[in-house]
Amino acid sequence: MTADADKKKAEAKEARRAAARQSQKEATRQRVLAAARELFDTRGYQGATIRDIARHAGVAVGSVFTTFASKGEILSEVMQSRLDRLYGELYRVMPHLRGSTADRLRTMFAIHFNFEAQHVRLFLSHIAAAYDWTLPASAKPYGRTPGLQEIIRGVLAKGVEDGDVRKDVDLQEVVDLLMAAYAWTYRLVVTKGLDAKGCTDVMDRQIGLVCEGFAPR
């Protein structure tokens, strides 16, 4: 055999190894995410340490850290996959929504509260993670996920078309106001013990106030 063929063989072997390492890394990643999802639900975000997550996933603590920069990043990934499902549902519902812009916004947020009602503490941690020091720039905590904001902006844009949202209104400003109101409503779950229905009622009133602000004069 020539030296060239030997070299090629060695390269192919190295490539197979790299692929194996890659798929092993992906398998670890999936196991960590599954374990984290379970522990965040049962113990809450603060209550689940990286060590707990590693043990539950059956992997070494070190390999959690080689896969994720921080617990905040794990949370961000867990939330992302949950929310992707929610947004998928919302995009399906959107074209069928009827009524005024206020009504359509109310429906959208009601769907959110129903979806998150069982995981409110986790959702609060998701908001808190936005301010996490150790979070890498690639992570998508609350406020940096385009999904929800795009959906709200879509509802408002339709309102402009239908003529119940003024044309001169900066839609992003309205989106941000609604996002602030939405986040605050989650606090009431912790401080006042509100359920999904209670959250929806409070949010409905807030949406009403914001809508008065962009209604045609």
Binding site: G44, Q46, V120, R121, L124, S125, I127, A128, A130, Y131, D132, W133, T134, G143, V169, D170, E173, V174, D176, L177, M179, A180, A181, A183, W184, R187, V190, T191, R205, Q206, G208, L209, V210, E212, G213, F214, A215
Partner: protein
């Protein structure tokens, strides 16, 4: 160890200047708080440990614990002091306002101006405020509660002056204004918005949130 209640000490020495020991204790507290403020600003709340804070203050962790119960106690103390100062600035700003929108805008801006030089600390505070464990305690701090009330008060005053309708839903509207005020910090922290940009944003938000309460 013999414990002497502060009242007892006061009764025995009614007008005497603070003892050397009390002064030393006071100095220790000041040093620890300065170190804690620095570390919370650099490392965030989770990242700053009592050990690091003690080391930065040049003392033992024991000495820190002799003065503060735990890290959250330290953080609360810093936030209370800052927010009391800010609350005074906000009240003063509200007093200078011409009309309710202007008064509210000045209150917003008093906050953004105050925190401009300490955004990392604001970032740490927002992180804490959104945890379900410590968040409610932080938000319930007297000066923070008073800030929130200040927004509602401004609306009530405007109702009295006849600027806003009687049924202005001042409580909910004030709350929403306060949350809008807080939410803009994310733009300041993560996107480096200037005071001018924050002011333009705040002005629009106030107009939108008050539109339905205007008379006529």
């Amino acid at each position: 160890m013999k414990h002497i209640s502060p009242n007892q000490v006061a009764a025995e020495s009614p007008v005497r200047a603070p003892t050397r020991r009390a002064l030393a204790k006071q100095q220790t507290r000041v040093k620890v708080l300065a170190a804690a403020r620095k570390l919370f600003s650099e490392e965030g709340y989770e990242g700053a440990t009592i050990r690091d804070i003690a080391a930065a203050a040049g003392m033992s962790t024991g000495a820190v614990f002799a003065n503060f119960t735990d890290k959250s106690d330290l953080f609360r103390e810093i936030m209370t002091a800052d927010c009391e100062t800010l609350l005074d600035a906000m009240r003063e700003a509200a007093g200078r306002g011409r009309g309710v929108e202007d008064a509210l805008l000045k209150v917003f801006m008093a906050g953004y101006t105050f925190y401009k030089s300490r955004l990392p600390l604001a970032r740490a505070a927002f992180g804490v405020s959104w945890t379900s464990e410590s968040g409610p305690t932080l938000r319930a701090l007297a000066p923070i509660q008073a800030m929130q009330d200040l927004f509602v008060e401004q609306l009530n005053l405007a109702v009295e002056r006849g600027e806003l309708r009687q049924e202005a839903e001042a409580k909910l509207r004030g709350q929403m204004l306060f949350e809008a005020y807080l939410s803009n910090y994310a733009q300041a922290i993560f996107e480096g918005w200037s005071l001018d940009a924050l002011q333009a944003r705040a002005k629009d938000q106030i107009r939108i949130l008050l539109a339905g309460a205007r008379r006529g």
